[in-house]
């Protein structure tokens, strides 16, 4: 049991940034720029500290469920769940957010809409922590929806749409204003959200509960009931994946993320590293024990749809996004593609974990990689912010030579991109390698091949990024007016974090695996029903069996791919021995591929075609409406009017006619009387 004061810690972590948000919003008139940044930084620091203390206290005794008496919905108490998954993620989220807030203090100086910015950033962090700590689906949805709304509002931060704030291009590629980008993010993620929402309602209809632990414990009974309707479990699985896929920018809901960089750079960092996109992965992990029970304990094959969807779409996204990252012209867009690709790995990791009899090690690898990605990606966005301001352009091919102006930034970036491409012993290597190995281990051949092929692409685009931004001919640079130490300090801390995390990988992943295993085994459905429960508690992590020749081959191939692709990119973009234009001129296929990738394989256009279809439907609806309106509001009144005119003709005013009417009526009445009708 947790001590009384410790039970307040998750609330402190969640509510402190929310209070910061309210304070900033209430003080918006004061324009006290420094005060806002102090509120943002201190509230995120409080969240981080509370998360760390909580993890220290609750890690060993987790899972702990905290229930409040307040009712969200009939039969749904407000619940928080403290388990290794939530504790670990909360630390990652709050730490990364704290670093980003620090960076913001320097970056946002003099920018418009300070109060709005800081209020939304604080609300963003608070919502993400609410989602992470949520122990019931209603609370989770509150966090989920708020995260989506905050990201929309922050992406649209420069809502006045000045031309210099537009992203995309260079022409002929389309350019989009920030307000458009925010709306695109909101609407795309909403489509996924409503899918998840419907799945949650189906689950509630069969389980009668929104509480996660109850859902885990009773999964055996309600999943069986759900599976009695053919196709229902598969449908629920696929619908449930809609939200996570869209939030985590996975195929086919991924096209909003490249434009999400229209917001200020710290916003991009927060979306890509700590909140929003990580929310999808976290929610998949939250539902994993349920579908794991369905598949492995109850033998319901339809439950595998959940894992196959995650694994296949994750792998496809990882590969496609990495390929697009290789040709991206904007620095932040290349990083956005990189995020999609890395999140593809995470989705694949969770899919493969669920298909594996022993899910804990895969989940541990996935969450380790989530932390690694959070650290190096937030830092890379910080680097992008500095580079863009110094170079005065968002396009990489117009940058170059920044190494001389920003040597420290270059050095830190070198560490970070090495981590991103998966150079051992940095943090990007361990989790990614474990995920690739696991996908082969569970027989996901196609996702395995795609994931492995993503490795050289990652090495290529990261080296290209480094080369284009920092090497080559020095372009005309601007003077950085922001205090560089405020921008560089968090970048340096995060770079050191990437190294430390890499060096502690075996210990951290091992510890996480053990904790996740014991946490999963506390749920009755898994403990009682799983035939492999004992095997689950004794199983080791895939990397612990590194003697396995198969895994060694995978690691070796992965490293070889990194070396070859990295070297190729180094020749082209760092050493500049081969000019890419010449290469493209010689290889028409490559040129066509490059242009297809730059056009985003037509997927972005597909979004606009769908939007166009809805706009076309508007016309049809207008036509239907016109018909209904004419019929009911014009023809019927006109018909009544005509009838009235016809009847009016009878009213001649002549005495003779009136007497004739009277005689007719009296005769008719007498006739009816005579017949006995009246």
């Amino acid at each position: 049991m947790l001590a009384g004061w410790a039970m307040a810690l998750p609330w402190i972590a969640i509510l402190t940034p929310m209070s910061g948000a309210l304070l900033s919003a209430l003080l918006w008139r004061t324009r006290a720029e420094k005060l806002f940044s102090i509120v943002g930084i201190s509230s995120s620091l409080v969240s981080f500290t509370a998360s760390c203390i909580l993890a220290y206290i609750a890690w060993a005794i987790s899972p702990v469920e905290l229930k409040a008496t307040a009712l969200w919905a009939p039969g749904a108490p407000l619940c928080l769940l403290l388990d290794p998954l939530s504790l670990f993620t909360a630390i990652v989220v709050s730490f990364t957010a704290f670093m980003i807030m620090l960076y913001s203090a320097g970056y946002m100086r003099g920018e418009p809409g300070q109060a709005r910015y800081w209020a939304l950033m604080c609300a963003f962090l608070s919502s993400m922590l609410l989602l992470v700590f949520s122990g019931d689906l209603i609370t989770m949805l509150v966090g989920w929806k708020l995260v989506g709304f905050c990201s929309y509002a922050l992406i649209s931060h420069y809502y006045t749409d000045e031309p210099e704030r537009w992203v995309g291009g260079p022409p002929p590629e389309p350019m989009y204003p920030p307000s458009h980008c925010g709306l695109k993010a909101l609407l795309t993620t909403t489509v996924g959200d409503v899918m998840t929402l419907s799945a949650i309602f189906i689950i509630y209809a069969y389980s009668g509960s929104f509480v996660l632990t109850t859902l885990y414990d009773t999964a055996g009974s309600w999943l069986t009931a759900l599976a009695r309707v053919p196709g229902m479990l598969a449908l629920t699985s696929i619908l449930l994946m809609g939200g996570p896929l869209s939030k985590s920018a996975q195929f086919p809901f991924h096209e909003w993320l490249p434009e999400a960089m229209a917001g200020p750079t710290p916003v991009s960092a927060l979306i890509h590293a700590a909140t929003m996109v990580k929310a999808g992965v976290f929610v998949v992990a939250r539902f994993l024990p349920i579908f794991y029970t369905g598949l492995h304990s109850l033998g319901l094959w339809e439950a595998s749809a959940f894992f196959f969807t995650a694994a296949y779409l994750g792998a496809i996204t990882a590969f496609l996004a990495a390929a697009q990252g290789c040709v991206a012209s904007e620095l932040k867009k290349a990083l956005a593609y990189s995020t999609m690709s890395q999140l593809g790995y995470l989705m694949l990791g969770l899919g493969a974990s669920g298909l594996s009899v022993e899910p804990a090690s895969g989940m541990a690898a996935t969450f380790y990689h989530l932390a690694a990605h959070a650290i190096f990606k937030s830092a890379l966005f910080m680097m992008a912010g500095i580079a863009i301001h110094v170079a005065g352009t968002i396009y990489m091919d117009k940058m170059g030579g920044l190494k001389k102006i920003l040597p420290t930034t270059w050095l830190l970036t070198l560490v970070l991109i090495s981590s991103l491409m998966g150079v051992p012993p940095l943090s990007g290597f361990w989790g990614k390698d474990a995920i690739i190995s696991l996908s082969l281990h569970v027989g996901l051949i196609a996702p395995f091949v795609l994931a492995l092929m993503t490795v050289p692409l990652t090495a290529f685009y990261t080296t290209r990024m480094l080369g284009l931004v920092f090497h080559g001919r020095e372009e005309k640079a601007q003077r950085e007016e922001r205090p560089l130490y405020l921008l560089l300090a968090p970048l340096a801390v995060l770079s050191i974090g990437a190294i430390v995390l890499g060096l502690s990988a075996p210990f951290l992943m091992g510890s996480l695996t053990q904790s996740l295993q014991s946490s999963l085994l506390t749920y009755k459905a898994i403990e009682v029903l799983s035939p492999s429960a004992s095997a689950l508690s004794e199983a080791g992590a895939p990397w612990q069996g590194a003697t396995n020749s198969q895994e060694l081959i995978i690691s070796a191939s992965s490293l070889a791919f990194i070396a070859v692709a990295g070297w190729a990119a180094c020749l082209i973009y760092v050493k500049r021995r081969i000019r890419p234009e010449v290469l493209l001129a010689r290889a028409p296929l490559l040129r066509r591929l490059r242009s297809a990738l730059r056009m985003r394989l037509g997927l972005n256009s597909a979004y606009y075609i769908m939007a166009g279809l809805i706009l076309f439907l508007r016309r049809s609806v207008r036509a239907v409406e016109r018909c209904l309106d004419t019929f009911l509001n014009s023809w019927i009144p006109r018909a009544v009017e005509k009838m009235a005119s016809a009847i009016r003709k009878l009213q001649t005013g002549h005495l003779g006619y009136n007497l004739a009417y009277l005689a007719t009526v009296i005769s008719a009445l007498m006739l009816l009387l005579a017949m006995g009708v009246v």
Partner: protein, 498 residues
Amino acid sequence: MVLVPYVLLQAIVIPLLASALSVLVGKKLGPKMGWLTGGILIYQTALLALACLDVWQGHVLIERYTWTSSPGVSLYLVADGLSAPTALIMSLICTCLAFYSIDYVRYRVEVLYGRGEAGDTGSERCYAFYYALYPFFSVGLVGLALSWDIIMIWFFMEVPIIAFYFLIDLLGYEDRHKIALLCALWFITASTLFMLGALMAYVELGDPSLSALPALVGKPLVRWACALMALGLLVKAAVFGLHVWIPWVHANTPTSLAGILASYANMATYVLARTLVLPLPDILKTFSTPLMAWALLTMVYGALLTLAQDDVKRLCACSTISQISYSLLGVASLDRGAVAGGIFYMLSHCLGKAILFSTAGLIVYRTHERDIEHMGGLGRLMPKTAVLWAVGSMVLSAIPPLSGFQAEIALFSTLFSSTTGDPMKLAIAICGVLATALTAAYTFWPLKRIFMGSSRADLKSLREASASMSIPLIMLAVASALIGVWPGLISELLSTAS
């Protein structure tokens, strides 16, 4: 027990005091009459809050005052878990919009009748007339919520029609005289259909109270009575095919009354639940699935129709068509929990729509422009108005912490639970949830079009509307947030009734 005597009767009658005062001193007070009316309506809201508190404690307040002994019609008022929160929210909306009216009516009077000089009886008569009729809405809507008698329900349904007709004719937009007539004809047709059904039920039962309605089962006229009552209510609820009055009437109503008109249309689902679904579920069983399908069709059609609008007021008006159908979906499922969910959704929608529509009014009031195509960039010039629009959009799009989110959860969780054995109903429910994505499109897309981007050069000097117009909307937003953060306030009350 509440300490105030005749609390329900007072809640119905007190607003008429405002009418009487307006007749007596309205001309003298002019626009200031709005403060007096608002003050009196605050008292009504406070009375209903007390009644809610009592219901919360597990009581049911019943007051019966015989009107005519033959036929036996009485003012039979009941405040239970369903009616008390409904009456409170209706009263709150009327109260807030009474304050909103103060500056708005002055503006409309100036636009339509010119700036009146001091002592100009023409324009002062307008204010007196407006505030004499305005309390009728409060009486009608609260009466509709509290009535436990089908004849009185019909009566309270008629009361706001009189006010709508005259006030649209007085201060409406476009061809306001024609619109007022259109409004009256549609509403009277609907009320007449309801009245015919209600009279049939009364003839069969000899007792107009809702408690007697279950005895209608097996009577020869029961189907006719139910069909006529339902048809009348569906016209008011603006289901697909019977909705064509909304784009005209709702869009051209004076904006201070638009939130009330939306509430009036929404109350049709409440009355449907009260008079037919809860007392006579077996009779409606056959119609449940078709009615749900009809509601789904209306949701989607209404949403697409809203997306097709470029007129900011018409846009808000068309969204009402789609939103009412969510409540109808819950009510039509015949499940008691889903009915409560449907009513919760209705209350949330009324709050959200009052905010959204009134914000549209603020935009029109300041820009004198209704075409969204000619707007853009207003966020920088009118940030408070932009936030209010965003809040209204959030309520409708079910984004926490506002009431729409909890209402959506309450509606769909119970609806899905009630449809597990019926694949067709489950499919409709799933499609209903999926259709909510369109709500985000038709609320946030206009937010972008109206408030984001660059602004027109001639609008650069635009100012925010006065505090008397924005504070009432902020109060409605606070109420919505309170329900969103503590949904038990409403859901626990509703669940006691269901």
